[in-house]
């Protein structure tokens, strides 16, 4: 068993083990564990309040888990601050769009490169040498690839606040992509989108893997999209993983059906809530 586990952790890009997070008496995550294979699209689903966004915030470094570990390519990143994780290749988007308002699309995308830039103030004052070369290289790379890829060339110089919702989501994805991440965490990439926009976004997510080799971990409520795109689905409920596997496996899992539709039995709900109180090993 231990051999199997070590093999699986070598092959996974992101390995989550026994992750526990509590806000006062509310257990947001209780011993969550799963792994994300490199180059895969993994979706995290679950009813509202299941702990999906908490999980994302813990992976990207906004919350410190009480116990458990997060490994990126075998390296333990559980205690690293968010900016360090960004530099190592964890990028994310937010459920409520978090673009830098008051800046243009291009400025926002450029900021995605921030974590990789190495210049000091004297370079920048002179605006020669390293800073300039970096700037040129950065611009070329971003303009050629990210903007083309996400088809936002026409709004390059538009202030982000003026854009419609769907495009803002796309700019946010572009910004994450400009970080050249190993893994992108997408928090509800198609929430509030119409059918057409959703299809566009689904195409971008598939191309993200095909063209950029980026691994995708997403939280999404659009079940059609989740089942179509995902290689693997992880189902959370009450902060626990209740099922994981291929979309087909998960769809037929009685636990999952109960989680979404309910079993109609109050005693079972009580039992489940009591079971969700995982303790950290001392």
């Amino acid at each position: 068993m231990s051999i199997v586990e070590s093999v699986s952790s070598e092959r996974s890009l992101l390995q989550i083990e026994d992750l526990t997070l509590a806000f006062g008496g509310v257990q947001a995550l209780a011993g969550v564990g799963f792994s994300v294979a490199p180059g895969s699209i993994t979706s995290v689903i679950g009813p509202n309040g299941a702990g999906k966004t908490s999980l994302f915030n813990t992976i990207s470094g906004f919350y410190r888990p009480a116990c458990g570990s997060i490994r990126l390519e075998g390296r333990d990143i559980t205690r690293l601050p968010a900016p360090k994780r960004a530099a190592l290749g964890v990028a994310r988007s937010f459920q409520n769009i978090a673009l830098f308002r008051g800046m243009t699309v291009l400025d926002n995308i450029k900021l995605g490169r921030h974590c990789h830039l190495r210049t000091n103030v004297f370079d920048a004052l002179l605006y020669f040498g390293r800073a300039r070369r970096e700037e040129m290289q950065l611009r070329a790379e971003i303009e050629e690839r990210v903007i083309d890829f996400l088809e936002i060339d026409h709004i390059r110089h538009a202030p982000v606040a003026s854009l419609p919702y769907g495009l803002q989501k796309r700019v946010e994805m572009a910004r994450a992509l400009a970080m050249q991440p190993k893994i992108v965490l997408l928090d509800e990439p198609v929430a509030g989108m119409n059918r057409e926009e959703t299809e566009d976004m689904a195409r971008f997510i598939l191309d993200l893997r095909a063209e950029w080799g980026v691994t995708v971990l997403m939280v999404e409520h659009d079940m059609g999209m989740v089942m179509d795109l995902s290689d693997r689905v992880v189902v959370l409920n009450f902060g626990q993983v209740i099922a994981q596997g291929t979309p087909a496996q998960v769809q037929n899992d009685p636990e999952v059906i109960r989680a979404y539709l309910g079993s109609g039995r109050v005693d079972e709900l009580r039992r489940r809530l009591a079971g969700a109180r995982a303790e950290c090993p001392a």
Partner: protein, 294 residues
């Protein structure tokens, strides 16, 4: 009876001279507010400390003026770093009013510190600016005000360039816009907080040296900060452009009120303006509309 245009020009130039210093100090205020959302009422006292550090090095230790200027700027930066780390960072997440009150207390502490070390007597800084009278056209401008204006103007331009192109400046703008997003993009937000206080402390020190060179230094010179507060409320707390325009405008209004109504009307004019602004545009000329109210 004809209107004395030359007189108007002279006092306007003097007003712009003071206004540039208001703008510079306003910039220090705005940098802190933009990055950390802290209303720093102690900006005038930080300016005073800069002036006194300069005084200590230039007059006390009789070092060359340039050494003293560098020492004062470094001192201002250190003060900013110290204040941020020990008083502001622990208040993270507290209500804006509480943090605001901390800065009020900080102002009192700094005044007390100055009075302990240098007593409350006003002092004169050693002369270091050229002294020959300057004429713009026919209008006479006091040389100190003239050079003070250019020092402030050059520093403001330099800062604007740095904020525009240096990645620390970009990080500052990003942090000002969305802290969570900045944090997830690899921007070290706490370091941006420190940086903004250090930069503000250094700017305030330069402004303090110039203000002190023009009018002398005393433990009450922090009152300068009150006018700066009017300037940034006028321009918008989070607007650098607002601080610049507001600084020059308030400088002019103050000079005109002093010349045509009498010296005692200077403060009255400035604060009447404040009341008007708060009634008409409470977020300032260029400020963001949804700024929280104190």
């Amino acid at each position: 009876m004809s209107f004395d245009w030359l007189f108007l020009l002279e006092i306007s130039l003097a007003g712009l001279g003071t206004g540039a210093l208001y703008a510079l100090t306003g910039l220090a205020f705005v940098v802190i507010y933009k990055a950390t959302r802290v209303v720093n009422l102690a900006i005038g006292e930080m300016l005073m400390i800069g002036a006194y550090v300069f005084f200590a090095f230039a007059a006390g230790f009789a070092l060359p003026v340039w050494v003293a200027i560098v020492a004062a700027i470094a001192g201002g930066g250190l003060l900013g770093a110290f204040v941020e780390r020990t008083m502001i960072r622990p208040m993270l997440g507290e209500s804006p009013i509480s943090v605001f009150m901390v800065t009020v207390g900080l102002g009192s502490i700094l005044v007390g510190l100055v009075e302990l070390i240098w007593t409350a007597d006003p002092r004169r800084l050693p002369e270091f600016l050229p002294n020959e009278p300057i004429f713009v056209g026919d209008a006479y401008v006091s040389p100190k005000v003239f050079y003070g204006f250019w020092v402030a103007a050059l520093l403001i331009v330099a800062l604007l360039i740095v904020f525009r192109f240096w990645r620390g400046g970009v990080a500052l703008r990003a942090t000002a816009s969305d802290q969570a997003a900045a944090w997830s993009m690899g921007i070290d937000v706490p370091r941006v907080f420190s940086l903004s206080w250090i930069v503000a402390g250094m700017i305030a020190a330069v402004a303090g040296i110039v203000v002190g060179a023009i009018g002398g230094i005393s433990s009450t010179m922090g009152i300068f900060g009150l006018t700066v507060l009017v300037v940034v409320i006028f321009g918008g707390l989070d607007s650098i452009a607002g601080a610049l325009v507001g600084g020059l405008f308030i400088g002019l209004v103050e000079a005109w009120a002093g010349a045509y109504l009498g010296g005692e009307f200077k403060v009255l004019a400035v604060f009447t303006l404040l009341v008007l602004i708060l009634m008409v545009r409470p977020y300032g000329l260029f400020g963001t509309h949804e700024i929280e109210r104190l």
